[in-house]
């Protein structure tokens, strides 16, 4: 069977031929589209058609630099690949004309160059891998995201795609595959961090005439978009990983449970599955080996709890998305009561690399108990938001201050929420903790699926806890009492504290509720729901006390606890605050210090924004 190798050769040749042409790549992941990528696509396409230019256009998924979207790349023969950021339809045409046509790089917009052989390095453009954003990253699971056309199986194959599946099907036994995954030390990238190889082994050993492979693509944490980027940027990696899993556990059918809020991911998956089947790499008799693997997509209806594996299985079965009691674990009795292996998107995306490059390569990255690399979504008050893949064990400080470029507007770092609503916040003093499963749990947070929400000094931690509890309260499925009723009461208490009506006993009540919910809730959603409260209480207890006892919100967020005043010494009576006040709460003669009538003030903050003299005090 060398047809795959032949195909690869053909596709590589095609790519090489393409490299002799000028190509413009537009980033059309959801992030790129949201930033206006499609308008740029049409603008450039229109110009190319008008002027009948010999330039090819392709699109790609997210390259990770969401902070620079919309992003386009120009490949011109004899020149390094140049990545442009903050592109708009006007300057896109300038890039087209100056660079793609005339070979003159637009330095103001160029973010980075990717040097290649036979092309002179550009003097004024930073090199991609030397960018602070890239320097500490290792691109493995998302290496092809933003590089290949996600809808082209040819490009995926040209980059070594499906080689791992071929290797497994033609030369490895089920046990050998599982051993390799076990040796790699890969742990579930969806949050729990259970050993992937061990999970596969359970499903392999389970008795059953029919087994299933399930991919959890129901990524729902606020601020997390790793899986979406993988699905939109490199869908075949996930399909290949699932097929390898199917072979190793003895399954011939798989489901991808993808949230309906990811329409582009679903579309690209549908295309990828169709192309895979056409190419004989999915479906019946894969690569002529007799192995069958049929994949289906199930769109989720928007319930966060369906990211919990048993609720997810119920949902695929057409039932209400409520978790089941475990045991039995899905490996014994999962989808339609058959042995089922369930991993998330990023976990499967790692598999082809592990098989191709070997378990020892993967295990060479990371810490003693957490191996490999992990993709994080950088969001919040950082300078560089986006997607970063780092070796496990890197410190939180390195991620936030080097890769993400520190805090916006030179403000002070306060905390970072890791693990979404199931995780916790980590304060300044623990920034040097290595990011791995066990260290994060020890701090009261968790790896989760990889969302990092960075908060600065203007964030109120009680308000943050309230935000996350509101989320879990809304997303509770309603099955078990502690989660259904308990998160509601926790939220109500947090709301009263934020409203300035907190009672001295509230902290104890929150702690009591947290303990009981954690220890008695049915599923992971409930058991981890109190984490944001416990973590903020652990590291920012004084903020709770300020709210409750001093009726103050130190961060200046909780409106009910704020009062606006004008510093008579600073105010020059310019009247700009008076003009902007929507409720006429500000009065004063011209050139005389003004005053705020606190009984009228609705604390909207417009006056503070207007005042150039910092004469308005909020506190």
């Amino acid at each position: 069977m060398n047809s795959l190798a032949e195909k690869r050769k053909t596709y590589q040749d095609q790519l090489a031929a393409k490299a002799k042409k000028t190509v413009i790549v537009v980033g059309l992941g959801t992030c790129g589209i949201a930033a206006g990528g499609e308008k740029i696509w049409s603008a450039i396409k229109g110009e190319i058609n008008n002027k009948k230019l010999d330039i090819e256009m392709v699109y790609s998924g997210c390259v990770g630099m969401c902070y620079k979207e919309p992003i386009i790349e120009v490949h011109k023969p004899g020149m390094p690949r140049v990545i442009y950021g903050d592109v708009n339809p006007e300057n896109a045409l300038q890039i087209l004309q100056d660079h793609a046509v005339n070979g003159k790089v637009v330095n103001d917009l160029a973010v980075a160059q990717d040097p290649k052989e036979g092309a002179a390095k550009l003097p004024d453009v930073p090199v991609l891998n030397e960018l602070p954003f890239y320097k500490k990253q290792v691109k493995t699971a998302i290496a092809k995201c933003g590089v290949i056309n996600p809808d082209s199986i040819e490009e995926y194959i040209a980059f070594g795609g499906y080689e791992a599946l071929e290797k497994v099907l033609t030369g490895m036994s089920q046990v050998e595959v599982i051993d390799e995954v076990k040796k790699s030390g890969l742990r579930g990238r969806g949050g729990g961090g259970f050993s992937t190889g061990l999970k596969w082994e359970f499903a392999n050993k389970a008795q059953g005439d029919k087994k299933y492979v399930v991919c959890n693509a129901d990524e729902g944490d606020p601020g997390a978009f790793m899986d979406r980027s993988v699905l939109e940027g490199d869908p075949h990696a996930v399909l290949e990983g699932m097929a390898i899993c199917g072979y190793s556990i003895g399954a011939d059918e798989g489901y991808i449970y993808c949230r309906a809020e990811y329409p582009l991911a679903i579309k690209r998956l549908e295309t990828a599955i169709a192309r895979g089947e056409e190419a004989g790499l999915l479906g019946k008799n894969i690569l002529g080996t007799g192995f069958n693997f049929k994949l289906k997509i199930k769109a989720g209806a928007g319930a966060f709890v369906c990211g919990e594996e048993t609720a997810l299985i119920n949902s695929i079965e057409g039932k209400r998305g409520m978790p089941r009691v475990r045991p039995p674990f899905p490996a014994q009795s999962g989808l339609w009561a058959k042995p089922t292996n369930n991993n998330n998107v990023e976990t499967y995306a790692n598999i082809p690399n592990i098989i191709r490059q070997g378990s020892s390569w993967f295990a060479s990255m990371g810490t003693e108990k957490s191996k490999g690399s992990k993709v994080f979504a950088l969001t919040g008050k950082v300078n560089r938001t986006g997607l970063a893949e780092v070796p496990v064990g890197i410190t939180i400080r390195e991620i936030i201050f080097e890769i993400a470029g520190g805090i916006q507007d030179n403000k002070k770092f306060k905390a970072v929420q890791i693990g979404g609503p199931s995780g916790g916040c980590i304060p300044e003093e623990h920034l040097d903790t290595p990011v791995d499963y066990d260290s994060l749990i020890a701090l009261g947070a968790m790896m989760g699926s990889g969302g990092l929400v960075v908060m600065d000094e203007t964030t109120c931690m009680v308000d943050v806890a309230r935000f996350f509890l509101n989320f879990t309260k809304n997303e509770s499925c309603g099955k078990c009492t502690p989660c259904r009723e308990g998160t509601k009461r926790m939220l109500e208490i947090l709301e009263t504290i934020c409203a300035g009506k907190g009672k001295p006993e509230d902290i104890t009540t929150l702690e009591r509720l947290s303990t009981v919910i954690k220890s008695t809730a049915l599923c992971g959603l409930g058991q981890t729901a109190p984490n944001p409260v416990l973590a903020t209480l652990k590291y920012f207890r004084s903020e709770y006390e300020d709210h409750i006892f001093n009726k103050k919100c130190p961060a200046g967020v909780c409106n009910a606890l704020l009062e606006y005043k004008i510093d008579a010494e600073k105010c020059k009576g310019c009247g700009s605050c008076k003009k902007v006040c929507p409720v006429e709460a500000i009065s004063g003669e011209k050139k005389q210090p003004h005053e705020i009538d606190t009984s009228k003030c609705i604390k909207c903050g417009s006056c503070i924004e207007k005042c150039k003299l910092d004469a308005i005090i909020r506190g």
Partner: protein
């Protein structure tokens, strides 16, 4: 099947492998409260009131769905367990109308029993309470979802009859409630008022309307009989108060067919003041009370049978 040895509340026990902690505890008479568990019906592990402490386990497992294991050390009422149960009850009671004095289920309500046992008064949380309108649109079931604790037994029993499945869980989180299709009132649903759900409801959310105001549980005497209205032979309880039948309720809804309206409403015939106790035969243009033998015209046959018997 082989036995496993474990310790419950310091007492060593040997029980068959595969049974649950709750069943094992039952064998030694250790009390474990349950709402959502029904031996013959369902074990969703949802209410969490049956949690126990097992040495070495990170959390408190629900004893109704956790199998016993060799060497397990279980505490059914340790301080941690009691704290958890109290909190769960406080949470349920905080969202429950405290009208036990007029509630039909008073004295026959698990929530009331457990609140009493664990000293839960309902003062722990002040917050939103459900304010659903009770569904009283049909003559048979009074449905007050404000009292529902979402144990799910009604759903399980309704779905156990293949052609039913009238109710199920709807909405999410705090707003979860049991609903019919399109959240209609029972009268506009497919419900046939078999009252299986009423029979399993552990609280006062589902009440047999015909029994309302007829007496508290301790006022009534129940006699289980098998219905003879059709060949299904459902079991039900005939409820007597002061020797008089006041209502019929489904006895065991878990197995067999549901008790239909015919069986339950049969007492209306019994207590009809116009009910004729003896058959009437028209003699000389007027109805005269006669014996059944005469009315059915079998008196001569009976006479002959008596002769043969001798």
């Amino acid at each position: 099947m082989s036995n496993v040895n474990l310790t419950i509340n310091g007492q060593k026990v040997s029980v068959p492998a595969g049974i649950t902690i709750q069943e094992a505890a039952e064998q030694i008479g250790a009390f474990i409260p349950t709402f959502c568990f029904d031996k013959d019906l369902t074990a969703p592990g949802a209410c969490r009131i049956c949690v126990v402490e097992v040495a070495g386990m990170r959390n408190l497992p629900a004893s109704c769905v956790t199998a016993v294991a060799e060497g397990m050390v279980v505490q059914t009422e340790s301080p941690v367990v009691v704290e958890a149960r109290k909190m769960i009850l406080e949470l349920l009671v905080a969202n429950h109308p405290l009208d036990c004095m007029t509630c039909e289920k008073g004295g026959n309500c698990r929530l009331q029993d457990y609140a009493y046992r664990y000293g839960v008064t309902g003062g722990a949380f002040v917050g939103e309470k459900h304010e659903y309108l009770p569904d009283s649109t049909n003559p048979y079931v009074y449905r007050d979802l404000n009292k529902c604790i979402l144990c799910g037994k009604c759903v399980a029993t309704c779905n156990a009859v293949s052609e039913r499945g009238v109710i199920n869980f709807a909405f999410r989180g705090f707003n979860t409630r049991i609903a019919t299709f399109m959240d209609a009132d029972l009268k506009d649903s497919e419900c046939v008022y078999c009252n299986r759900c009423v029979a399993v409801c552990p609280v006062g959310a589902l009440v047999d309307k015909n029994m309302m105001g007829k007496g508290r549980i301790w006022d009534l005497e129940q006699k289980q009989v098998t219905c003879t209205f059709c060949e299904s032979g459902c079991n039900f309880n005939v409820n007597y108060r002061d020797g008089k039948v006041v209502g019929v309720t489904a006895a065991n809804a878990a197995a067999g067919r549901p008790l239909c309206l015919k069986g339950r409403l049969g007492i209306n015939f019994m207590q009809n003041p116009d009910c004729i106790e003896k058959p009437l035969l028209k003699k000389d243009g007027e109805f005269v009370a006669v014996t059944w033998e005469e009315a059915l015209g079998i008196a001569p046959i009976l006479e002959k049978l008596k002769v043969i018997n001798k």
